[in-house]
């Protein structure tokens, strides 16, 4: 697959999209782990929801 004289523009475009999408995915995954860990810490410290259900238990 020859991309001609503008290879750098095409490759940079695709690489940038891949990088930004990967960053979004990683950011959301890390945020999810972080929030669950904070909820577990709070519940382990004896703070529970009024319903009594686990705040991080979503399954």
């Amino acid at each position: 697959m020859a991309l001609g004289p503008y290879t750098s523009f095409i490759v940079t475009s695709y690489a940038l999209v891949a990088a930004v999408v990967a960053t979004l995915i990683v950011w959301i995954a890390i945020d999810y782990r972080h929030q669950r860990a904070r909820l577990h810490d709070l519940e382990a410290g004896g703070v529970v929801r009024r319903s009594g259900r686990g705040a991080a238990d979503i399954r």
């Binding site: 475009s13 703070v47 009024r50 399954r59």
Partner: protein, 273 residues
């Protein structure tokens, strides 16, 4: 969000607004519309749906990338036409996400739907990312085709304004500590900003711009050859599914973040007592 869960469960009988929609075979009972207003049930549904959405997104994007790689060169643009397959979906999504946020803003202001401001807040960074990619890939496409990375024409400028509005909205969410207060201000700003959407869409018709007019979503049908249209549509659907997947995951995070805040406030009041 505890009180919302409880209030909704008490106020509305189960089966209210029933719709014949089963989330999956093992999902117990028929899902109700109001179920989606309940954060706990929303989280349960999200946990079931997300893996399937992620898989469908990955498959579509792989197929779309393969088709994009195999697409022929354009007789005028050469291989740079391949940038279109990522530029156009990101440009469409930059406007679609603001449209979703506008609907969520209505949900916040008119119906006070418990998940509306969660949806709007979770969508903003994703929309900003898509808009950024639309601007940069457009710039990288423009340099070899137009001879310039940037031109202050109506289309490019209105999309840049959209990007700045996304950043402003994210800053507003971060500046106000109380989510419910931030939600109302952000909802108003979102609805005001929605005025920019038709300006972006029709800017190429209303003004003389360097940017080309619409070639897919236009009266009379697409002007693109099928060899370019098919990869573009597959990529557009793949990116749309990517948005839905990321948005649901980000909404889940936001609900958990609000639960953390609620528990921290309970902890603080317990300590004070």
């Amino acid at each position: 969000m505890d009180w919302i869960d409880g209030a909704i469960d008490q106020l509305l009988p189960s089966g209210f607004w029933q719709i014949a929609c089963k989330a999956s075979d093992d999902y117990q009972g028929v899902m109700t519309l109001i179920d989606l207003a309940n954060p706990t049930k929303f989280l349960t549904l999200t946990a079931r749906v997300l893996p399937w959405l992620a898989a469908a997104t990955a498959i579509l994007l792989v197929v779309g990338l393969y088709q994009s790689a195999m697409a022929p060169d354009d007789y005028q643009q050469g291989a740079t036409v391949k940038i279109m397959f990522i530029h156009v979906p990101n440009a469409w999504l930059s406007m679609l996400v603001w449209g979703v946020m506008s609907l969520a803003a209505l949900g916040t202001l008119v119906w006070r739907h418990p998940l509306a401001d969660v949806a709007a807040k979770a969508a903003a960074p994703i929309g900003a990312a898509f808009t950024f990619l639309a601007l940069v890939t457009g710039s990288l496409w423009g340099r070899p085709m137009w001879g310039t990375y940037w031109e202050w024409d109506a289309r490019l400028t209105s999309v840049l304004i959209l990007f700045l509005m996304y950043l402003g909205l994210i800053a507003l969410w971060r500046a106000v500590e109380d989510p419910s207060r931030a939600a109302r201000a952000a909802a108003i700003l979102t609805l005001v900003g929605a005025i920019n959407l038709p300006i972006i869409k029709f800017s190429v018709d209303w003004w003389n711009t360097l940017h080309q007019p619409a070639s897919v979503m236009r009266m009379g049908g697409p002007t693109l050859d099928r060899a370019f249209l098919m990869p573009l549509l597959v990529m557009a659907i793949g990116f749309s599914l990517l948005f839905v997947t990321l948005h649901l995951a980000a909404m889940r995070n936001e609900i958990l973040r609000r639960r953390v805040r609620s528990l921290q406030m309970m902890q603080a009041s317990q300590r004070a007592a």
